[in-house]
Symmetry: C2
């Protein structure tokens, strides 16, 4: 199963300038074939500010795709914190420093009290890798359950639970893949019960093969699977099932976390449960490479008596200063309130577009993690894969950046910076209306 | 086998101020037991500049330990590049940007032509994890050979080849651990031949257990094993042996790379060989979280046809700008020449101290990666473990920061920023003389 390809560059499909051809040739020569570009006509972006990106030709793009610069591109408060601390001190955590503690305290205060410790890494991949190691040591199990098109990162351990990357997950004997809780295609079924039943079957299959379950890991917004947020609470039964079998419930908050869903800071809160480990990444430093996990203290304890964990770049004074600045901006600019309001407005606008454009079969999501699923027939739900690719690329020509998701790459994925305004949403809706009309 | 503990804080051994007690209590409460502090009396560092660190009480410390700030703490050229690019644009590599290509070009130019591609990650752990995945896919093998006290990182894959972290490597059925090429304790034997013979035996043992070798991975300065640099060329036979068995030779340059050994940019060059993959980390961004690998193109090719690799924070315009600035400082300030000259001066000074202090059994290393092995008896070579701990902690009281290494924690490890001067070296030597005299 390959990763949805809709946004990746397919050579020859676009009219490239000599400069663009030169850059692409240099990329292939220097970086090799593992590097991909977005869009049929890749973008040559040189500057970012707020929700706007600017290309080398001076064109302006509305960014409704990038979640890493969560407080907007190049936010001055974050840059100031970064520059100040980087010119003062940037060392590892084996000396005492108060910044990491102030940050840890503020961050932990956003989690349920059961998650008593926080640990810092550089990337979400490292956070998920470490979470899996913790789960193995704590449970004595080796089996992991993930969803069919999940993405949890690029280390070997993370890739094995990331079927969206290709064959690694399918070939990992200790991993079981289950369908994501897709309420649109479930057509009235209780998705929480169905999802829990899949977890139960995966556990039984593991046990039949002599594998003890270590954890169920889910991206709490199911981003690459196709964005599934409703009904709230649908994860509760699955978490109970994995725990009954001796495994942990790991909430991967790399996509859903840091206020992205508006009503709550963390995606798992939407489902009224407390994970054993919550991992964080991408938006945590608004572009500065930092990630981490919040974890129940009893899980760290056993691990630390057997081994050590140290991360050179994790939790440095610079990472702490940047992370703190991001939390401050989310608070001061009331971004969660903005996300709720603009997210609602955008979903309403998409639902209006769905009346006009029967291709839009479903509009869903939470806060500013929004999906519009394109189908050729509202009864058969046949995926409109080619149309989705055309819409995403057409929006790029109209200078609005979004993406796609799902096994058939037929789901428009809208995931702008949290500072996205109603005006920004209206511009996106107008351009999407045009793109759909032109199909 | 536990990681050498000499530098870690043991509660109650030092007189702590109320503030220090408060910080330590907060660390334990917020970060949990996996976090450790250096020294019996941990340092509360608040500022860094060049080779100097400053504590909360205004005391100044000579930093002869930290290799991450390779161009000196808070180098203005690096900070300026960081601040400028961070306030302009900080996005992933799926848009075209020239900074990553300019950096890749400059970086690859420092490697032999066979290493034709460079790929970017956030941490050396991620780089080594990815290198191992490349080796598995390319060779079809799963077996890895590492040295007995190696450290290659903190992801699960990296931890399994990092026996210095504890039991993970010993318990990994696909990993074979071999003694590092220790010329001091080899007492006249050909360490290169002995090391190659160990590799050969490890391969045979793997094959006897049905395991196909994927790679031999070595830190080319053997930092945590005890710092082994001589005689130059001692890695050549081992590389031939692993290749004959179908495995790759991976040079982990996280410790030895970026001019640290003075005479050459990369540690493997000292041994006159070309690795299949060279991984980089810590000093690459002088504190900015970045790492990567240089790799033979044919190895990337097969991997990319099966799977993908993407790293959100790897190779961003900011990482590229910072990495480029670090290379520029190394060049402009002629740091490799400085490393050679000061490294030689410091080793000569240590050898003079060895005449006065019989505890110093051996002085070795390359450039500014220097070790002084402390032994109680120059014939039996009995490790002076307790003395080493006292010396390291006593130097901290004398405001000079070094560390220790080796299975018996009896090796002083000296690894200052590359800007370390002869005067800095003389200060270190004077304080070390005092510390040894006071034993």
């Amino acid at each position: 199963m390959a990763m949805p390809n809709v946004n990746f560059f397919e050579a020859g499909k676009a009219d490239l300038t000599p400069k663009e051809k030169e850059i692409i040739a240099r990329r292939e020569r220097l970086l090799g074939p593992a590097y991909r570009l977005s869009y049929q006509h890749p973008l040559h972006i040189v500057r970012g500010e707020g929700v706007w990106l600017y290309d080398a030709g001076g064109k302006t793009y509305l960014d409704a795709y990038n979640n890493v610069p969560c407080v907007g591109h190049c936010h001055p408060h974050v840059i100031a914190a970064l520059a100040k601390q980087a010119s003062t001190l940037n060392v590892h955590t084996r000396y005492m420093h108060e910044a990491v503690l102030d940050y840890a305290e503020k961050l932990l205060a956003t989690f349920p009290a059961e998650l008593g410790h926080v640990m810092f890494t550089c990337s979400g991949s490292e956070a998920n890798d470490l979470a899996c190691r913790f789960a193995e040591v704590y449970t004595g199990g080796t089996g992991f359950i993930a969803t069919e098109l999940a993405y949890h990162g690029g280390t070997k351990v993370a890739a094995e639970i990331s079927p969206s990357l290709g064959g690694f997950a399918k070939n990992a004997p200790h991993v079981r893949l289950i369908p994501a809780p897709d309420a649109y295609r479930a057509q009235g079924q209780d998705v929480g019960a169905v999802f829990a039943a899949h977890v139960q079957r995966a556990i039984q299959d593991m046990q039949a093969h002599g594998i003890r379950p270590a954890a169920l890991i889910v991206d709490t917004i199911f981003a690459s699977d196709g964005v599934f947020a409703d009904p709230p609470g649908f994860l509760t039964q699955a978490a109970e099932v994995i725990r009954k079998a001796g495994g942990l419930f790991i909430a991967d908050e790399v996509q859903a976390g840091f206020g992205r869903t508006g009503e709550q800071m963390w995606g798992f809160e939407r489902h009224g449960l407390v994970p054993d480990i919550a991992t964080m990444g991408k938006p945590m430093g608004a572009g500065y490479p930092m990630a981490g996990l919040a974890i129940k203290p009893e899980i760290v304890k056993g691990f630390s008596s057997q081994s050590r964990y140290f991360n050179t770049f994790g939790g440095t004074p610079v990472a702490a200063a940047v992370g703190l600045a991001v939390l401050e901006v989310i608070e001061r600019e009331q971004l969660m309130e903005n996300v709720s309001a603009v997210g609602h407005h955008l979903r309403q606008g998409l639902k209006k577009l769905a009346i006009k454009h029967p291709l839009i079969g479903d509009v869903r999501g939470a806060g500013l993690y929004i999906a519009a699923e394109l189908v050729r027939d509202r009864k058969t739900l046949e995926p409109a894969t080619a149309e989705t690719e055309r819409v995403v690329n057409s929006l790029r020509e109209k200078r609005v950046l979004i993406s796609s998701a799902g096994i058939s790459s037929n789901i428009l994925k809208i995931r702008p910076p949290l500072t996205f305004s109603k005006d920004n949403a209206d511009l996106l809706l107008a351009k999407l209306d045009e793109a759909l009309a032109a199909l």
